[in-house]
């Protein structure tokens, strides 16, 4: 079986932009590439035929295929410096909170090189015991502590090489102040009469160097091994054969003068938390970098609950949490490069790749030149949400998916390739191997669930909306979340209508501000989905396409943020639901997340409000009282994740609910933030609060909002070749929203 993987360096393009494609594969000598414009998803017999439009491009054709590995796992690195290789006695000490102490050999810190077996390093061995290892190029010595470290407990760990005494000693002192686990110091000491301890290269935290990389390197051209899971804090390196008491003094502030004169390095992980820099407060300024984005703004050994916001006192957050499955950039060499031609229309494009029996898609979006529009209508591709979901591995991990969904889990070949290649990394719906939640996601890697095939979710469901726009008249532009975050309301201003995706769930403050500003200036928004505007995110300060999610306080979530870690590391903003930031989705679009279920979709029934003259125009030509009874996905328009109005959460008082869903199954449960006291009557067969509501309201600037309130909505539009009342209703809304005639607020009507 051939394997083919690829990604692009950008998703959002404009004419003149250059986009690079990175490709890797095996099982074939060459791959075929072709650019296409996507106009619908591959969705089976009931849907529009899948017919990507071939696009002439210089990258089309056959190209040599090679395998490129993915250097997964985070660490921190300090470039080589003579001071990092002390000739005499020295001590290396740090605070450590291991999360998988018995999870295999792991390196905490040092210059140890696995390939040349030189340098020094502080490790956890296979049983989780602290181990110190030094070598002079001729001889190698290891000291091992007599008992393992516990998981998720703080220790002061040290390696001391006493050249005069000819000994190597390691020691771990428990620091945890709470709990009643039996714990006591552990140590080990061996004779060590070696020549000068030399290492060939840099000093690493949370991984060991393993010689030159044979493929892509995460940093410095080196390969790495023995990645560590857990937190490290306050590493110190001194040219002194410290006693245990002196090791403790290394963490004092200020450092005692007699030790300060022997200080080589003292790294402060509390400094510059939003960055990828680690600062050394020592005399040599041995600053370094974090690699593959380990988690920062996490509780350190000093944290005592008195600080919840890391920006208030970063000293409580002086730790970095490393994971052996962190990944921010696959760092592949590019295979193809393309300049987006001026004549390409704005739209959804993809590089379609084939090699042997393997297939892969790399979608991207082409927008008009900045500040311009080629249509009155823009589809706002929810790229932030796509990124949050990229490589959602836990879907395949247990029966929980079938339990939530009420139907069997289905995989296709791309999903299976993904399972065979865990180095593709994780989504923000997953937990790391050590059980901690994944709060960062990046698009700079091959991904399994951003394609026009497979499960209909996010991108592959949004293509139903593209299909509908193509069917109406094909007059639309495509813009993206990433552009919205960067450009604000200027991106939206040229358009009369913004059409959202089916599940625009993740927004930064900048994105939400821009949408509100657009609406307050007369813009019109068609919210075409469900569970939108739910989670707050932060964008990485310097890396486009990298987001952070802190799943704080409440909400439907597959993991929850650790205590004291509710503030984004990238920005210092409070994370979690927008509802917990007093900006619930109901304020913006009238409706908000109320329930989810994936077994079967239902329909909407028209309400009395549909006859209100303010809404009657949208029902012209719509005959039935029941809307969306048939859908291409699971049988109806109302389902998957659904939204309802709630005046208490900000639905405008004049909003009209023109249709409401009913008859959902008992897989649909109230979202957790609506169930403050569990009561057992929280599924749709018992609880009338569970419904999707098609909602409309005018805004004071002459604009308006229309919300579908269901992720499945778009899948019902193409039913019967778009000859259905739901499609007629939706098209009526689009046409009226394109009309520049302002909407009047109810009170303004004569």
């Amino acid at each position: 079986m051939s394997v083919l993987l690829a990604y692009a360096d950008r998703w959002s393009c404009r004419p003149g932009d250059r986009i690079r494609f990175m490709v890797s594969g095996k099982g074939a000598e060459r791959f075929d590439a072709r650019i296409v414009r996507l106009r619908q998803p591959r969705a089976g017999r009931l849907a529009s035929p899948f017919a990507p439009e071939p696009i002439e491009a210089p990258v089309n054709g056959s190209h040599p295929l090679r395998w490129q590995s993915i250097p997964i796992g985070s660490f921190a690195a300090v470039p080589a410096h003579p001071a990092l290789h002390p000739e005499g006695s020295f001590a290396l000490a740090l605070l450590v909170w291991p999360t998988t102490p018995a999870g295999g050999r792991q390196m905490l810190a040092g210059t140890w090189c696995v390939a040349s077996r030189t340098g020094y390093g502080l490790f956890l061995d296979e049983q989780g015991r602290l181990e110190g290892r030094i070598a002079d190029g001729e001889e190698e010595v290891a000291a091992r502590a007599d008992r393992p470290l516990g998981a998720r407990r703080w220790y002061r760990a040290s390696l001391v090489f006493d050249r005069a005494a000819g000994s190597l000693e390691v020691r771990a002192e428990p620091l945890s102040a709470h709990g009643f686990d039996f714990d006591r110091p552990s140590s080990g000491r061996v004779e060590a009469r070696l020549g000068p301890i030399r290492g060939p290269g840099p000093f690493l935290f949370a991984a060991a160097q393993a010689g030159p990389a044979r493929g892509p390197s995460a940093w410095g051209g080196i390969a790495t091994a023995f990645h560590f899971n857990g937190r490290l804090e306050a590493p110190r390196l001194v040219s002194d054969a410290c006693s245990p008491e002196t090791v403790a003094e290394l963490f004092a502030e200020p450092l005692p003068a007699r030790l300060a004169t022997r200080l080589i390095a003292a790294w402060d992980f509390a400094a510059e938390i939003p960055s990828e820099t680690i600062r050394d407060l020592g005399p040599h300024r041995l600053d370094g970098v974090t690699v593959n984005l380990p988690t920062r703004a996490v509780r350190g050994a000093r944290w005592d609950g008195s600080v919840q916001d890391w920006t208030r006192d970063p000293r409580h957050y002086a730790a970095i949490h490393f994971h052996d499955d962190d990944l921010v950039d696959a760092r592949w060499e590019p295979d193809l490069e393309l300049e987006v031609p001026a004549q390409w229309r704005s739209g959804v494009y993809a590089l379609h790749l084939r090699a042997g029996d393997g297939e892969f898609w790399v979608p991207f979006f082409v927008s008009p030149p900045r500040g311009t529009a080629r249509s009155h209508t823009a589809f706002l591709a929810p790229t932030a949400t796509y990124i949050a979901y990229l490589n959602h591995r836990s879907r395949f991990a247990s029966l929980a998916t079938e339990l939530y969904h009420g139907r069997l889990l289905v995989l296709d070949r791309t999903d299976i390739v993904f399972l065979e290649h865990p180095e593709m990394g994780l989504s923000t719906y997953d937990r790391h191997r050590d059980g901690s939640g994944v709060c960062y996601s990046s698009r700079h890697r091959p991904v399994q669930n951003f394609r026009p095939t497979g499960r209909h979710w996010n991108f592959n469901l949004d293509l139903f909306i593209i299909d509908w726009l193509e069917h109406v008249d094909g007059d639309y532009d495509v813009i993206t979340d990433e552009q919205l975050h960067q450009e604000g309301v200027d991106l939206l201003a040229p358009y009369r209508v913004i059409v959202t995706g089916s599940h625009p769930e993740y927004h930064s403050k900048e994105m939400l501000d821009a949408l509100e500003a657009y609406l307050s200036r007369g813009g019109r928004l068609m919210y075409m989905g469900g569970n939108g505007f739910y989670w707050r995110i932060a964008h990485h300060p310097t890396r486009p396409g990298v987001i952070e999610v802190r799943r704080a306080e409440g909400g439907v979530r597959t993991w929850d943020a650790e205590p004291g870690e509710y503030y984004h590391g990238f920005t210092g903003e409070f994370g979690g639901l927008w509802r917990r930031n007093a900006r619930p989705p109901q304020r913006l679009v009238g409706v908000g997340f109320i329930s989810q279920g994936f077994d079967k979709c239902s329909y909407y029934r028209r309400t009395e409000a549909a006859r209100d003259p303010r809404a009657a125009w949208m029902f012209e030509g719509v005959e039935s009282e029941i809307l969306g009874r048939d859908g291409i996905l699971y049988g109806g328009a109302a389902g998957l994740e659904i939204d309802a109005t709630d005046p208490a959460l900000g639905t405008p008082a004049h909003a009209l609910v023109v249709a409401r869903s009913e008859n959902h199954s008992n897989v649909y449960e109230l979202v957790s933030e609506e169930v403050l006291v569990p009561h057992g009557a929280s599924d749709a067969t018992l609880n009338p609060a569970i419904r999707a509501e098609i909602t409309f309201f005018e805004t004071p600037g002459g604009g308006a909002v229309w919300s579908a309130g269901s992720i499945a909505f778009a899948t019902a539009l193409p039913w019967n070749g778009f000859d259905n009342d739901l499609a007629r209703l939706t098209t009526n809304v689009l046409r009226r929203f394109r009309d520049p005639a302002p909407f009047a607020m109810p009170g303004e009507r004569g």
């Binding site: 591959r42 969705a43 089976g44 017999r45 591995r393 836990s394 879907r395 395949f396 991990a397 247990s398 029966l399 929980a400 079938e402 339990l403 009420g406 139907r407 069997l408 889990l409 289905v410 995989l411 296709d412 070949r413 299976i416 399972l419 065979e420 865990p422 095939t453 077994d599 079967k600 699971y634 008859n663 959902h664 199954s665 008992n666 749709a684 067969t685």
Partner: protein
């Protein structure tokens, strides 16, 4: 505490009639029991032809390896749900479900 009752063939008939969608409370209890995550391999479907043909397979918990395929193939997702329901019934009851 809900317990499996192999005499409740009415629940099997109810599931067969409509494996997806609203179920009676007792059938929902039974499905929760059958779908409870464990450390044992669990059933899934692998697409062989889009929207046309699916193969029953088993996944190891943890998503660390590809699914292990079986010889059982379906052309209807409802049939697949019913087949797996019968597998699970047999496991719980220690005998075949006396309904085809």
């Amino acid at each position: 505490m809900y317990r499996f009752d192999k005499t409740r063939l009415d629940l099997a008939r109810e599931f067969k009639a409509d494996p997806l969608g609203e179920h009676s409370p007792d059938l929902q209890y039974l499905l929760h029991l059958m779908r409870r995550p464990s450390d044992r391999p669990f059933p899934c479907l692998v697409v062989e032809e889009d929207d046309e043909r699916w193969r029953l397979a088993f996944l190891e918990p943890g998503a660390k390896s590809p699914p292990r395929p079986t010889e059982v193939v379906f052309t209807d997702l409802r049939e697949a749900e019913w087949y797996v329901f019968k597998l699970r019934w047999r496991e719980l009851a220690g005998e075949e479900l006396p309904i085809d």
